[in-house]
Symmetry: C2
Subunit: 100 residues, 2 copies
C-alpha cells in the first residue's frame, strides 16, 4: 500500500475531506483545517496535486479532481464507520463516570 505514504501523513486525508464538496482557497483550506501550518499545508497540497487527487484553479482555488472525488467516495464507508465508532467512544467515556 503505497497509498499510506500519501494518506498516512498528517492532514492529508483531512485536506481531501474538506475539499470534498466545494473548492477553497489556500487560506480557506487552512481555516477549515483548524489553522494548519501553511508550510505543511503547502506540502500536502503539492503532494496531492502530484498524485492527481487535487488541482488548482485560479479563480476558485483548490478542488478535487475526478480521481479525488473517487477517493472521497471510497472514503464514505470509512466515514460511516467513524460515526458508529464515535458513538461507541462516547458510550465508553460515559461508562467511566456513570455506571448505567
Amino acid at each position: 500500500m503505497a497509498l499510506l505514504d500519501l494518506l498516512g501523513r498528517r492532514w492529508a486525508l483531512r485536506v481531501i475531506w474538506e475539499l470534498r464538496e466545494r473548492p477553497a482557497t489556500f487560506r480557506e483550506v487552512r481555516e477549515r483545517c483548524g489553522g494548519v501550518s501553511p508550510a505543511v499545508l503547502n506540502d500536502r497540497l503539492r503532494e496531492l496535486r502530484e498524485a492527481g487527487v487535487l488541482e488548482h484553479d485560479d479563480p476558485e482555488g483548490y478542488r478535487c479532481t475526478a480521481h479525488g472525488l473517487a477517493l472521497v467516495q471510497a472514503l464514505a464507508p470509512l466515514d460511516a464507520w467513524a460515526k458508529a465508532w464515535a458513538k461507541r467512544a462516547a458510550r465508553e467515556s460515559r461508562s467511566t463516570s456513570d455506571a448505567g
Copy 2:
C-alpha cells in the same frame, strides 16, 4: 473527524491492515510493517486497543476486534481506489521516460 486523530498517525492504518486476516505477535507485526520502531508500534497498539479496534490475546498475539473488522471492511473501497491509483501513477511515471 476525530477518526483522523487515530488513523492519521503513522503506521496506524498499516497495523490494522496487516492484522486484517490473521493475528500476529508484537514482533511479527513489527516485521510485517517493515521493522517499525517498537516504541511507536507500542504506542499505536495501545491507542488502537483503547479505541476498541484491536485486542491482545495471550497465545495468538494481537488481532482485530469486531469493530476492527468493520473498519477493515470500510477500508476495502479505499484499497480498491489505491489499486486503480497505483495503475495511474505507474502510467504517469512511464510517460515521463517514454513518450508512447
